[in-house]
């Protein structure tokens, strides 16, 4: 007679892997966004042109 003795696949392992995939996507996205010239998350600020302070 068979009997269920094992446990269902770990929910903890599922959540850890899910979190790993989500964090990996976010990390890769942030790295590629910071790298490229056309940025979405880290838009380049329109910094004013460098100006020297006139000497008095």
């Amino acid at each position: 007679m068979s009997e269920i003795v094992g446990k269902a696949p770990g929910r903890g392992r599922f959540l850890v892997r899910l979190l790993a995939l989500l964090l990996a996507s976010l990390a890769l996205g942030l790295v590629t966004d910071a790298w490229r010239s056309e940025r979405v998350f880290f838009p380049k600020k329109n910094l004013p042109a460098f100006e020297t302070v006139p000497k008095k």
């Binding site: 009997e3 269920i4 003795v5 996507s25 996205g29």
Partner: protein
């Protein structure tokens, strides 16, 4: 389910996700513009985070499906991903938004990228992902895990 069918579904779904992910990565601003067109009740920061993370999530899921990596995690995640596409496209279609779906990076205003066509595609993907998830959870796939023929020692 026939393993050949499962393999074909994995290649179809994985390949399409890889294609969609790389297309979005190639044109992030176009994808961000397409995302804005959905008029979702989300903040600008959240939309920007989705713009940078979603393409990579698609690429990772697509690659994992192709090589059958972490199937018990990746298949339900793909199902959730395609379900979210169906929900978002349904609300766009319901509100009559005439937008580019942005599925492949956005910017191409063709019939294939219309919300109706994209919704049909997303439903097909959801069905494929659901079949893969259910097949992964079947006792045959799990090799009888959790059920032992040993008699109780108690």
């Amino acid at each position: 389910m026939n393993t050949r069918w499962v393999l074909m579904l994995r290649i179809f779904l994985g390949g399409l996700l890889l294609w969609a992910g790389f297309a979005k990565l190639a044109a992030p601003m176009a994808f961000f513009g397409a995302l804005l067109g959905y008029e979702l009740p989300l903040s600008d920061t959240v939309l920007r985070l989705i713009t940078i993370a979603l393409p990579w999530l698609e690429v990772l899921c697509g690659a994992a499906l192709l090589v059958d990596f972490w199937p018990e995690t990746v298949r339900p995640l793909t199902m959730a991903l395609t379900l979210s596409f169906v929900v978002v496209l349904s609300q766009a279609l319901g509100r009559g938004l005439e937008i580019d779906c942005g599925c492949f990076g956005g910017g191409k205003n063709a019939f294939w990228n219309s919300p109706a066509a994209a919704l049909a595609r997303a439903i097909a993907l959801l069905i494929a992902a659901s079949v893969l998830t259910l097949q992964n959870n079947s006792p045959q796939r799990r090799g009888g895990r959790g059920v032992s023929s040993r008699s109780s020692t108690r």
